[in-house]
């Protein structure tokens, strides 16, 4: 019987006491906390066995809880690994797009919409749509601007599609890579509250580019003032989404570094939008028309006088 006493099951009564006694121990939470006090009142042997059974029976729930935290368990060379990045439903994608269009101060896009389920569907297809939107709108706006000119021959500038694709995809993937590397480096120096995984940063950047799709379509309007107002609005919305997402991540850092990071993020965004506007959309040269009408008048006047 001494052997059985030695094998007596240890009562894990209070989580608090066990944590203070042994701070390094990992505590496993059993699913029904209401049942454990009942077992404690029973006879020791019986309670030991029942708790044993309960631990064994709830082992699956512990395992499922652990597995739910780590989703990507397939090796990276299998197809299932990449399927975990597309594990979104239609309404989730719409919610994320809505979140990128309506930045609420204080609400973090990643925390609110993406948390632990970053997807690659949104970034990839938003970038693809943006590439074609910019190329097609640029082409269309150039056509409308030069519509009356006799010397203008319309060409569908197809090369611009590849240039647009390179720019947009480089922005959507390389800038998050650089930002993620920078945040990891600062994270090793300063203990941050919030740290984002690479995919979450790609997700934020991808969804923040969504506002540029209607902006690019509206850039067809050949008025400089309209175009610049649209740039301001789009920059305001997507820039604030990005700033509000990354501010909690750099807030703990040195004041200057934090401000510099946010300024760089916004500056790159400004460069992207202004660069696209300047390269793909010709300036609406409305002042050319009066000169072309003035010159024939002058030549007619010169002919009359001579």
């Amino acid at each position: 019987m001494a052997a059985v006493d030695d094998l007596q099951f240890e009562e894990f009564g209070d989580v608090a006491t066990s944590v203070t006694a042994n701070p390094d121990a990992t505590t496993v939470s059993i699913e029904d906390p209401g049942e454990t006090p009942k077992h404690q009142t029973g006879p020791l042997r019986g309670s030991g066995r029942e708790e044993d059974d309960e631990l064994l029976g709830n082992d699956d729930s512990d395992k499922t809880e652990l597995l739910a935290g780590q989703k990507k368990s397939s090796p990276f060379w299998t197809f299932e690994y990449y399927q975990t990045f597309f594990d979104v439903d239609t309404y989730q994608v719409f919610d994320r797009i809505k979140g990128s269009l309506l930045p609420i101060p204080g609400k973090n896009f990643v925390r609110l919409y993406i948390r632990s389920n970053p997807d690659l569907y949104g970034p990839f297809w938003i970038c693809a749509t943006l590439v074609f939107a910019i190329a097609i709108s640029g082409n269309l706006s150039n056509f409308l601007i030069h519509l009356g000119e006799k010397t203008y021959h319309y060409v569908p500038e197809f090369r611009k599609v590849s240039i647009a694709a390179t720019i947009i995809y480089a922005y959507a993937w390389l800038v998050p890579l650089a930002l993620w590397g920078f945040l990891m480096w600062r994270n090793s120096k300063v203990m941050n509250i919030v740290s984002y995984s690479f995919l979450e940063i790609v997700c934020v950047y991808g969804y923040s580019l969504f506002i540029y799709i209607p902006t690019a379509i509206l850039w067809i309007i050949p008025q400089k003032a309209v175009r610049w107002i649209l740039v301001m609005i789009a920059l305001g919305i997507s820039g604030s989404v990005l700033a509000m997402t990354f501010w909690p991540a750099v807030r703990e850092d040195n004041r200057r570094v934090a401000l510099a990071t946010i300024m760089t993020i916004v500056l790159l965004h400004v460069l992207l939008s202004v660069g696209c506007l300047a390269y793909f959309f010709d300036a609406p040269e409305m002042d050319h028309l009066p000169t072309t009408t003035a010159i024939p008048n002058q030549t007619v006047a010169a002919a009359k006088s001579s």
Partner: protein, 236 residues
């Protein structure tokens, strides 16, 4: 040896007569032939037919494939919910359509320095890589369609847009002008809608219902880009 065997099915009954008693009366080697052909007459005819496609004339081989392609064209032009495109997929139709479209869309080599329309290779790459990307997207979202079935459907549903390209080229022979443009715009829009309806009829069922819009949107984008290339085609 038959007497030694006992059927495992009856544990209790011990029959006095051994099982398969009558077999020992039969002399195996002479009365029952143990070699020969196990053939069913109809089966052998089919096997003959299969093995003789090597011997048939080239004309019948080509006609058989062309008829299969033509049948699928009919299914695309009158889209019903049918399995034909999915069950017997082939990539001949998409190849023919893609080559035709790329040949008609390419710009003349005379102005290849100027920034103009797409080259043959660009159209080809857009169509095939676009189709591959859409197929990968559909499979990653959890669709249960095979890779080549999806390529086959997407390729065949370019048929209405190829017809639109032919019509546009004919209309452009009449000379440029706004009426010309409106006619082309109308034709391209109708054919674009037709392509989308045809491909959605085949592809939408393979997706889980809560992701159907996510899988259909890239198809929409794909056909939109091809329609744009057709609409903005200007002959030199």
């Amino acid at each position: 040896m038959a007497e030694a065997e006992e059927s495992p099915g009856d544990p209790g009954t011990a029959s006095p007569r051994p099982l398969f008693a009558g077999l020992s009366d039969i002399s195996i080697s002479q009365d029952i032939p143990v070699e020969g052909e196990i053939t069913i007459p109809i089966r052998s005819r089919i096997r003959e037919f299969d093995s003789s496609t090597l011997n048939e004339s080239v004309h019948s081989t080509i006609m058989r494939d062309l008829k299969a392609v033509g049948k699928k064209f009919m299914h695309v032009l009158y889209p019903r919910k049918s399995n034909t495109l999915l069950r017997d997929w082939d990539l001949w139709g998409p190849l023919i359509l893609c080559v035709t479209l790329a040949l008609m869309l390419q710009r003349d080599s005379a102005d290849s320095e100027k920034d103009g329309g797409p080259q043959f290779a660009e159209v080809f790459v857009i169509v095939w890589f676009g189709a591959v990307t859409i197929t990968l997207n559909s499979k990653l979202l959890g669709g249960n369609i095979s890779f080549f079935q999806s390529l086959c459907v997407l390729g065949y549903c370019i048929l209405p847009l190829t017809v639109a390209m032919l019509i546009c080229r004919l209309v452009l022979l009449a000379g440029p002008g706004p009426v010309n443009f409106m006619v082309r715009l109308f034709v391209v829009i109708v054919m674009f809608a037709w392509s989308i309806v045809a491909s959605t009829a085949f592809l939408a069922d393979s997706q889980p219902p809560n992701r159907r819009a996510l899988a259909v949107y890239p198809v929409f984008l794909f056909y939109f880009v091809i329609s744009w290339m057709i609409l903005t085609f200007t002959p030199q």
